[in-house]
């Protein structure tokens, strides 16, 4: 039995080591500057005040170009907002709807059941106004990029003057962590860009941390529930397995 466990764990370790080619590989700009978000890790939970501030950064800065299509206004209640606050945010957006009885499409104020609208009508419109680039929807970016939260944070804070010999394209910006270093998104954050209600300093680093935390929540709203349920399930199944093992030993002690 012990040999089996040893062999199984060795196989698991070997397997895991071989299977994550990209996850541990350093990205282009070297080690990522900030990866230890409080929600990462076995018992990690979202930094609640940061989530609320991150929503503010998203709405005041990112939302000009980036959609958030998998998040509905009703979901914002999970960030600690009241129903009325969420409703007020929803009503601040114009949502395309229709056709009405005359057959016309129209816009109306958002409702709780609506999702964050995309700032552009379609991909072509997005590319036309963004120097050929299509600003990605932010609902899944932390889940869908190698490096995850750390990578998004690095992009937000990784703008630099290009090296002298670097041929930067028209309208492009230089980013230390972006593959190829040429990014169509101009530096989105600058110190003091938003005014936080809770008095947190609106530095680029703080805003980046907050908005990345918010995006992580948007990608995995089930994270806290998942870990909480998981802990209970593991304790239970661990105990049950131990009891079954004890029965197993007793039953087999009769074999001669």
């Amino acid at each position: 039995m012990r040999r089996l466990i040893a062999a199984a764990s060795a196989a698991l370790v070997l397997g895991l080591a071989g299977l994550t080619p990209a996850a541990f590989a350093a990205t282009e700009g070297g080690a990522l500057p900030h990866t230890d978000f409080p929600h990462v890790g076995i018992f990690g939970k979202y930094d609640q005040p940061a989530l609320k501030r991150g929503l503010q950064v998203y709405r005041e800065v990112c939302a000009a170009c980036h959609g958030l299509k998998y998040i509905a206004f009703r979901n914002l209640v999970a960030l600690g907002l009241g129903n009325d606050e969420a409703k007020a945010i929803a009503e601040g957006y114009q949502i395309p709807d229709g056709p009405n009885d005359e057959g016309e499409m129209f816009e109306r104020p958002g409702r709780l059941s609506d999702h964050f609208p995309n700032p552009f009508a379609n991909e072509k419109a997005a590319r036309a106004s963004n120097n050929g680039a299509n600003p990605p929807d932010l609902s899944l970016v932390t889940k869908g990029r190698d490096g995850h939260e750390g990578y998004i944070y690095a992009i937000l804070t990784g703008y630099e003057e290009p090296p002298a010999d670097f041929a930067l394209g028209e309208g492009m910006a230089y980013n230390k962590y972006f593959p190829g270093h040429q990014i169509a998104m101009p530096p989105p954050l600058s110190d003091g860009q938003v005014t936080y209600e809770d008095g947190t300093e609106a530095s680029v680093a703080n805003m980046a941390h907050d908005v990345v935390t918010f995006m992580a929540w948007a990608a995995e709203p089930e994270l806290e529930e998942r870990k909480a349920v998981g802990l209970k399930v593991l304790i239970f199944i661990g105990l049950l397995t131990a009891v079954l093992y004890a029965i197993n030993v007793r039953v087999w002690s009769r074999v001669t």
Partner: protein
């Protein structure tokens, strides 16, 4: 399964039950039962209406275009909702009925606080068909309200069941007047 096992076919099995093992088997059995429920329950719960479905729970209707005696049908939670602007005769007919004549006893005042406007979920309470009576030229049944063609239920001008197999009156959904010409259902 476990208790019948060691009684036969096991060479050298001790004849008497061992209390420790019995305790262990009881524990395992109880935990196994809990585990089974804990697996089956979420599996069944996945079939509940999802969060986004539940969120789509209200519909707004503009009443300004509806003339006296006319009805419209709107969709609320995948079901038709009838909004009828009743004539004075229809209101009077509905209010004149004695409760004794009704199977499902409700006054018209309860069902239509603003007498001119009657709002009903357009699903027959018998087996879920959509009663006729909203469009011009539809049969309205013996009581001038609605008539369900599936099994012949007759509803009056308050949407109450008067004749036929349906057990209950047509349901009045929760609604409120946002303004004089706008009603929000749900």
């Amino acid at each position: 399964m476990a208790e019948t096992s060691h009684q036969h076919g096991v060479p050298g099995a001790p004849p008497s039950g061992e209390t420790r093992r019995d305790f262990l088997i009881l524990t395992a059995g109880a935990m196994g039962a809990i585990a089974t429920i804990a697996v089956v329950w979420p599996l069944l719960e996945t079939m509940n209406p999802a969060a986004d479905t539940l969120a789509l729970s209200s519909t707004e209707v503009d009443l300004s275009a509806i003339e006296v005696g006319q009805s419209v049908t709107v969709v609320w939670r995948n079901k038709p909702v009838f909004v009828r602007r009743r004539t004075q005769e229809e209101i009077d007919a509905a209010r004149a009925v004695s409760l004794d004549d009704l199977g499902d006893k409700q006054t018209d005042e309860e069902r239509a606080p603003k007498p001119e406007w009657l709002v009903l979920v357009g699903v027959c309470t018998h087996l879920g068909c959509i009663p006729l009576g909203t469009k011009k030229g539809d049969p309205r049944g013996d009581f001038g309200g609605w008539f369900c063609p599936c099994h012949g239920s007759h509803y009056d001008t308050s949407g109450r069941i008067r004749k036929g197999p349906a057990p209950k009156n047509l349901e009045v959904p929760a609604y409120q007047f946002v303004s004089d010409t706008l009603v929000k259902i749900g």
